[in-house]
Amino acid sequence: MKYLIIGNSAAGIFAAESLRKLDPVGEITVLTDEPYAVYGRCLTSYFIAGDISEDQIFIRSQDFYEKNRINLKKQEKVVKIDFEAKKVFTAKNSYSYDRLLIASGAKAKKLSLPGSNLPGIFTLRTLEDAKNILDYSRKAEQAVIVGGGLVSLKGAYGLLKRGIKVTIVVASRQILSQVLDETAAGLVQQNLEKQGMKFLLGEDVLEFLGEDKVFEVKLTNGQVIKADLVLIGKGVIPNVDFLPEAEKFSEGILVDHYLRTSWENVWAAGDVAKTFDVAHGKYRVNALWPNAAEQGRVAAINMVGQNCVYQGSIGMNSLEFFGYNTIAAGITRQEEGYTVIKQRQGANYLKLVLEGEKLKGYILCGEVRGAGRLTQLIRSGSKIKQFPSFLKRF
């Protein structure tokens, strides 16, 4: 059996690893457009910060591919798939398959504003990006971060730790507007401000100013702020350019409960896959490491022919800045039609979002112990009869 995997990150690697466990003799090939062995994409900001070294970013041992007999083909960007002939084409080669996993991930959204192509404007997605940012940051004093999402904040953290002044421009009235409610976002923001980050909420960038490189950023309120370096964190879009009628898949490749796509012998997993969201009860892309890794594992089980139902994804995030932890999962912002329990004690904050007796989402700030039990309650859909005892600290 010939297994082919497009993508060498969480979904791709966990799939390859599981395939090898389940099928000791099958041929496993992994294609990546990057020049690296598997690394932790979410570690790039820690790398910028100097918290970890470059070798620590690689999350598997050096002999990982050899030991598991996985053929890793680096710098092979997929350009086309012929589903009839069961062939994947890269710029240089073609690869045939019996079973294919599309785990091509996503790429950072770029801005199309005046000046957005100036040198010094970055997105943070790959190790290459991180290295470029780190190099460039050595001559930067002041950075502007556009967007208030997790990647933006982590990038800002990395630059701040390198002694660069950071200003974060957020279009919403709060940071992390996809993940947290206002109260939790306020707590996280306060903590970051204490460390020296500056926030401009309800503002957006109008244009980037500079000649041979970015120099200033002009905001919608007319204000112009100095920026030697700009980091754009406006979310990600799935990598689907190589698919026929790619525009149809701009919101991800829809998969069934077995993570099968509509093409025969083709599965999809990770940031490119539109899976069933347990909390929201509908199909959506939850582009997060834990979801991707689990989907990779489940897809592999199905690729060898054992039927394994994927239990569904959950939007869940864990963030840690300067010792202050926040974990949130499921529905956290919407309150209408739900029963909401909120408790606050100093820097500790708890929010439970229930639909009837079923937990649909939660936020924990400060003390986060036992968060996984709440995640499990969302997953299992069990009824909650009484306030969970492990949360009694509130």
Binding site: R41, C42, P290, M316, G372, R373, T375
Partner: protein, 161 residues
């Protein structure tokens, strides 16, 4: 492979295991020294109570461990030989994704990194098991434990007759 197993009928909820655990993971490995250590040693076993039932909960070393899939730094791995879920603190960056997904809630924070039951790898034998005054905890092979349980059941059954 040996597991830390619990006899629910014997657990009184005295939390001696919690103390022994924290002590085993302290610098001095001595209770009276450990209580004065800063930062305070952290326990990795938690006695949960539900009415009359007490249950000491610790890492179950899951087959398809959610913490291993969630770990983005490669710190958590499943040892295929021993079946143990192993945490390499050197690699841990304290993102607490594992805390977010552990369905038993037994991964905790210790000095801004994750901490969990390592079956007292440093000492060589789980100290909670040694410390348990009622022998509610045991560290044995599952089939041996199952045999013991079957025997107990039959004895009780015969006695009742």
């Amino acid at each position: 492979m040996r597991e830390i197993l619990v006899d629910l009928e014997k657990c009184l909820g005295c939390k001696t295991c919690e103390l022994a655990c924290a002590t085993a993971h302290s610098k001095e490995k001595n209770f009276f020294a450990a209580i004065f250590e800063e930062p305070k040693p952290v326990r990795r076993i938690f006695v949960e109570a539900d009415g009359s039932t007490n249950f000491p909960l610790t890492c179950r070393h899951c087959e398809d461990a959610p913490c291993v899939t969630a770990c983005m730094s490669g710190a958590l791995t499943k040892d295929e030989l021993t079946g143990e879920v192993v945490l390499n603190s050197q690699r841990c960056i304290g993102c607490f994704m594992c805390v977010m997904v552990c369905p038993f809630g037994v991964i905790v924070e210790n000095q801004r990194k994750a901490a969990k039951c390592d079956r007292c790898a440093e000492i060589g034998y789980p100290q909670c098991v040694l410390a348990c005054p009622t022998k509610a905890l045991s560290f044995i092979e599952v089939p041996v434990y199952a045999k013991k349980e079957r025997k107990k059941y039959l004895t009780n059954f015969l006695v009742k007759e």
